[in-house]
Each structure stands twice: as structure tokens, then as C-alpha cells.
Amino acid sequence: MKVSERLMVIMAVAGVAVMGTGTAAADPQRGVRPDKVVLGSHTDLSGPLAIWGAPATNGARLRIEEANAAGGVHGRKIEFLVEDTAYQVPQAVRATNKLVSRDGIFAMLLGAGTSQSLASMEITDKAGIPSLFPLTGARSMAEPLHPLHFTYFVSYYDQAAGGLKYFRKTQDVQTVCLQTHASDYGEEITRGVTDAARELGMKLLMVGTHKPTETDFAGAATAIKNAGCDLAYLGTTTKDTIALHTTLRKLGFKGTTVGNMVSYVPIVAQAGGMDGYYAVTPAMILDPKDGEPVKKRFFDAYRAKYNEAPSLQSQVGYVSADLAIKAMEAAGRDLTVQRLTAALEAVRNYRDHFGGTTISFGPDKHFGGDSLLLMQVKGADWAMVQDNLPY
């Protein structure tokens, strides 16, 4: 009796104390202090997506340090807190909890992974924290429209649509085969290809899936060849793109092979036998030697800081941070979430100077890219085939 009474009192006190702290911490704006603004990121620095997470974080950090060296945004230095999730959802949730409750971030920048970002957004949405430019091309990052969600990429779904539309027009492709991952990434692409094929009146002859870790594609390639389609869409990553494309060519497959931005990396172009492979992408790998000072400056600064050449992912990180900084500048000295999102929605025809497409946002368009690029492997290098590819 006595014990349970005491327990009740303790619990009541605990409840009051917790609720008390909850209301007392009513800042003018979470994460914005007179001298600094705090941005957070849950990303993959040590897991399977580290090839995206690490360079993107480096690129963003480079841009943020430039901004801080130039005096910050409206006199506020930007603090960029990065948590490693190793591409695991539980880690992403813990990282987000830490960034939101302990560090009190103003916005989440460049979260890595689809499920990881969706889990993280469940928390940030409740706290009213914007989620900016996650490192995934999933449609769910910007659709359905949410006032706090912004993404840089045109989705994998629309990338597939853009690619198929182009080849329908230029090569009169009638039949399509799809080979992709048995994962969220693969499901997204399958939906994109299926819908685009139906809309364009093309026949989707087969959909093959494999595990991301698979290395042997003789079976999958034979199935594609036997299906006899005009175009094979590869919803793959790096290694499996190379293996699939080369196996298909060895088997004598004559059709076109197309992939998306994930396979748009130098390694794919440099692998032997990749000539003729297409990739649809919303951003372009910069060429530091083409004379434009912006590109060279970024290239040299990145190389000096991190001791390696920047990749497409570094550019994405740099551009994302640049967009966030531009939006914070436009939002003015009284930085609030509403002002930031309004400033982002006002971005029109932003050019990244690295050769990507223009970026525009609007009240009902929360993904950046206005169009796509079609690239093709020519002699161990990527060459542009079509600028301003619609989707």
C-alpha cells in the first residue's frame, strides 16, 4: 500500500518534471542561435552506401566551411553534425533522435538511404524539422508533397520514364526488359519502368531481380537475350551493371542497354567492354580541365582538403549544401522553418556550374531537377548524348 502510493507520487513527479522541461525549452527557433545555426545529417560512412555517404558529406562540409570562412549566413556560423548509421535503420533512428533531442538541429541535410530517411523523417516531421536533399532518388522523398520534405534528385521512377521516352522516340523501341535489385531501389525502378512502358505503348517482356550481392549474371543475361527485347533497362548499381552489360554483349545481345544515375560513375566507364552503355542522370560529373574556373576551384579545393578527387557524390553534397545556404541567406536574419521552406520554394533555374541540369522548386514541386541528362560510355569515358532530357 505504502510502496504503491510512493510509486504513484514518484511517477506523478516524473511526469510533471518531464512535461515541465518540454515546455520550458521553447526557443524562438530550434537550432538557430544568435551566432550559429545547427544542421544535422544521418549518413553512411562505414556501410554499403559509404561510397555515396562519405564523399557527399565531404562535399557538403567543404561548402559549409567556405560559407563560414566568408562570415557565415547573416553572421551565423553553420555547425554541421554528422552521425554514421552504417546504412542501418535502427542506427538512423538513434542518430536522428540524438540530432533532434540532444543537439537540437535546425534542419536535416543529406540523410542517406531510403528506408533510413523515411524512418528519420517520421521523427523530424513530428518535431517540425525540414528534411533537405536526402541521398536517395526514391519518389517517397518528395511525394506525396510535404511542407518539410525537399529533394535534389529527379526520382529513379522519373529517370526510368525519361530514358524510355527518349529511346521510344529516337530508336522506335517496342519491347523492354528490366533487370533490377530485389530491394526498395528495385521496386521503385520496376514501378517506373512498368508505368512508363504502359504509357508509351511498349511491351515489358520480362522483369528479372537479383540480390544486391550477386556476382554471376549468366542466367539473367541469357533470360534477357532469349526474351529478345529491343532495350534492357538495368536498375543496378556498379559491379552488377558492369557484369550484366558485358555478359549481355558476350552473348550477342543487340539491343540498347540503359541504366540510371547509380551506375553513372567513372568505374563503370573505365571497365572494359562497357562501350555504348547509356545512363540517365540528373547531375553530371565535372571535368576540371575544360577551362571553367568554378569547376577547377572546386576540384582543387576538394583535392587539397581530402586528398582525393571529388566524385559525383561530392558534387551532390556540395550543391545540396550550397542550395541550403542560398535558401538560408534568402530567408533573412530571422531564420525560421517557414521562411526557409518559402525561400527554397522560390528557387528557380538554379545552376550548379558543374554541368548539371537546372534546379527549380515550387509550392507543389519539392524535387529539384527540371530535366535529365543522357550519358553514354565512349572509350572509357562518359560522353553527353542529350541535354535537357524531359521525363
Binding site: 510509486l7 514518484i10 511517477m11 513527479v13 516524473a14 511526469g15 518534471a17 518531464v18 512535461m19 522541461t21 518540454g22 560512412l45 562505414s46 559509404a50 562519405a54 554514421d84 552504417a86 542501418q88 535503420v89 535502427p90 533512428v93 538513434r94 533522435n97 540524438k98 533532434v100 533531442s101 540532444r102 531510403t114 528506408s115 523515411l118 524512418a119 517520421e122 521523427i123 517517397s140 530485389a182 530491394s183 526498395d184 531501389y185 528495385g186 521496386e187 521503385e188
Partner: protein, 358 residues
């Protein structure tokens, strides 16, 4: 050594025999009850994840620690529990019913698996459970209409009897209550005939059989109870993750659970709790340590996994009994000083050579 004078028959059924033990466990529970007063909501959410993992660890402890059946696929049961719970709650089933259903379904699948692998030992059992978990991950990914496939599904919030539990401290008490209930339940189970039969099967199947124990049904029961607890843990974990995807419940989580009970100490409930503390809070400790490390090391990707691995290797080499074993030795050392002898803890396992059917 302390000699216990028993003054009543009731004392024979005490779960905690020594007064010191009672003090320590009581203090721990009191601390857990007071936690919302002392911690911010961030640490409370960390604690909730810790409770979920501790519960899953207790589930695996029943199977591996008490019944001697190794499982490298326990994350599959956590996953089944998480998905069943999330799907049911999303369709409007009340929280307690959904959690019970999650546990029972995971338990049922566990019992079926237990029946299938009841004649397997060692490597074969390890591989069978591992394969089961990989198959389960694929099945969850393929059941798109129900589970959202690889895209995953969001988990609705907790509502208990019509009251939404949104604050971290409310969830804290709910999770604590479920964890304590299962700790109490497993402690009782382990001294009941069912639990004794499991321990007998672990120590020697030959002896167990000659004592009239149905080895197969003992194993099936162990799988059922173990998977049930893991399923409930999954249901709790789902609310903390807020978003489920099949990859979450892959081999990585199975290994984490296994490491948890090995580092904590096989064969004791406190081992599972110790292990969960270790696995859950080591990343935070490493994070805090980063401030003291040289610059070159701090930015090194994969530092965390390296330290993690180093700890586990050190445990397996120097303290196979885990944290719980170390704690028992330390206590005995203090209690019997200066007469402590190492030989006390060397386990006599003469029967092992004859006790094999493999």
C-alpha cells in the same frame, strides 16, 4: 561463504535468494523507475531501444543459453513480431492484443522451425537457422501487399486503452513493465519442470533422454518460448524504429543478438541484460571517447565497428563466461578474500564425450 538459514518453506521459492542480490536488483529497478526524472527524452528513447534489445536477448538466451540450441537467425523472429504487430496496430487492433498476437505468431513459427531442426546440432543447426532468417527476410520483402515490400512501412504510434502514449516517459514505463514481466516469467520458467528439462537437454541429451525427458518437445518448447519473447521484443522495437524495412531484420541483427548474449554471459538472465547494455551503449561510449582521441583517428570511418570487434574478440579469448561471469568472479573474490581460487569456476564436463549423438 555465506550460510543461509531458512526459517520458512516460502524461502525455497524465492527467485532472489541472497539479501545482497535482492538489494541490487531492487536498486536497479528503482533506478529504472526513476529514470524519467534523471534523463532527457533522447536518453529515454535510447533506453527504450535498449529494453527492446534486452528482451530479444532474453528470448535468445532461453534458446541458446538455457537450452543449448544455437540460433544465428533470431532477428527473423524479431522481424516477424515487428511486422505482425505493426500491421495489426495499423488495422486498428488494440496495442496489447497486437503485441500478444505478434508474440504468439512468432512463437508458432519458432515452434515449427524447432520441430524441423530438432535433430540438428552444432554447425547444421547454425546454418539451418541462418538460412531460415535469410528466407524470412526475402519472404517479408515479397509480401508486398501486407508489409509494403522492400519499400517498408511506417509504424503507427502507441495507444493503450484509447490513450495515446506519445511522451518518452510514458513509453518508458510501458517498455519497462513488459521487460520486467518477461524477466520474471523466464526466471520462473527456468526452475519449473519445463525449464529444467531444457537445461538438461543443453547439458546432455543422453542423460536427459535417460531421465525420461522428451528431447524433441523440450526443444520445440524452447524454440516457442524464445521466438515468442523475440516477437514481443520486435513489436516493441517497431514503435521505436517507426519505420520497418526487411533489411533491418537481417543477418546483422542476428549476429548482434548472438554477440550480446555471448558477451553478457551464456546461461543467465543477467547475462542478457549485461550484454544488451554493452551492445546498446558501447556506440555512445565510443562517441564520447572520440573527444579524447587524436584527430586522425576520430574521422576514421569504421572506427566504431573496429572497437566493437576488438571488445568481442577480447571477451571470447579472456572471459568466455562474459560480463556476468566476470561479475560473479569479482563478487566471490571479494566475499572469500583471501581464499579465492580460480578452480571454482572451471566447469566439469566429463559427460560431453559420451553425450553426443552426432
Amino acid at each position: 561463504m555465506r550460510v543461509l538459514f531458512k526459517t520458512s518453506y516460502d524461502q525455497d521459492i524465492d527467485l532472489l535468494v541472497l539479501p545482497g542480490e535482492r538489494m541490487r536488483v531492487g536498486a536497479l529497478i528503482a533506478l529504472a523507475i526513476l529514470a524519467p526524472l534523471l534523463l532527457s527524452s533522447y536518453y529515454l528513447s535510447e533506453l527504450a531501444i535498449f529494453f527492446s534489445f534486452a528482451l530479444a536477448g532474453i528470448g535468445l538466451m532461453v534458446l541458446t543459453g538455457f537450452s543449448g540450441q544455437v540460433s544465428f537467425g533470431h532477428a527473423a523472429f524479431v522481424g516477424i513480431g515487428a511486422y505482425v504487430h505493426a500491421v495489426l496496430v495499423a488495422r486498428g487492433v488494440p496495442f496489447p492484443l497486437a503485441l500478444a498476437a505478434a508474440g504468439l505468431l512468432a512463437g508458432g513459427v519458432g515452434a515449427a522451425l524447432g520441430r524441423a531442426v530438432s535433430a540438428m546440432h552444432g554447425f547444421y543447426l547454425a546454418i539451418a537457422t541462418l538460412a531460415f532468417s535469410i528466407v524470412m527476410e526475402t519472404v517479408i520483402g515479397a509480401m508486398e501487399p501486407v508489409t509494403g515490400g522492400h519499400m517498408g512501412m511506417p509504424v503507427p504510434g502507441i495507444a493503450l486503452f484509447g490513450v495515446a502514449l506519445e511522451e518518452a516517459w510514458q513509453q518508458h514505463y510501458l517498455y519497462l513493465a513488459v521487460l520486467l514481466f518477461f524477466v520474471w516469467g523466464v526466471a520462473n520458467l527456468m526452475r519449473a519442470p519445463t525449464g529444467r528439462a531444457m537445461i538438461a537437454v543443453r547439458d546432455s541429451e543422453t542423460s536427459a533422454r535417460s531421465l525420461g525427458i522428451d528431447v524433441r518437445s523440450a526443444k520445440m518448447t524452447a524454440f516457442f518460448v524464445s521466438a515468442l519473447i523475440a516477437g514481443v521484443a520486435g513489436g516493441l522495437l517497431a514503435h521505436q524504429l517507426q519505420y520497418l524495412s526487411p533489411e533491418t531484420f537481417g543477418v546483422g541483427m542476428s549476429l548482434k543478438l548472438m554477440l550480446m548474449i555471448v558477451v553478457g554471459g551464456l546461461g543467465s538472465i543477467s547475462g542478457a541484460i549485461f550484454g544488451a547494455v554493452f551492445v546498446s551503449f558501447l556506440p555512445n561510449a565510443i562517441d564520447a571517447l572520440r573527444a579524447l582521441m587524436p584527430d586522425g583517428l576520430v574521422s576514421q570511418a569504421g572506427l566504431e565497428s573496429f572497437i566493437f570487434g576488438a571488445f568481442i574478440a577480447a571477451f571470447i579469448i579472456f572471459e568466455p563466461d562474459g560480463l556476468h561471469g566476470r561479475w560473479r568472479k569479482l563478487r566471490l573474490f571479494l566475499e572469500t578474500y583471501p581464499y579465492y581460487k580460480r578452480a571454482t569456476f572451471i566447469r566439469q564436463k566429463r559427460y560431453l564425450k559420451t553425450g553426443r549423438f552426432r
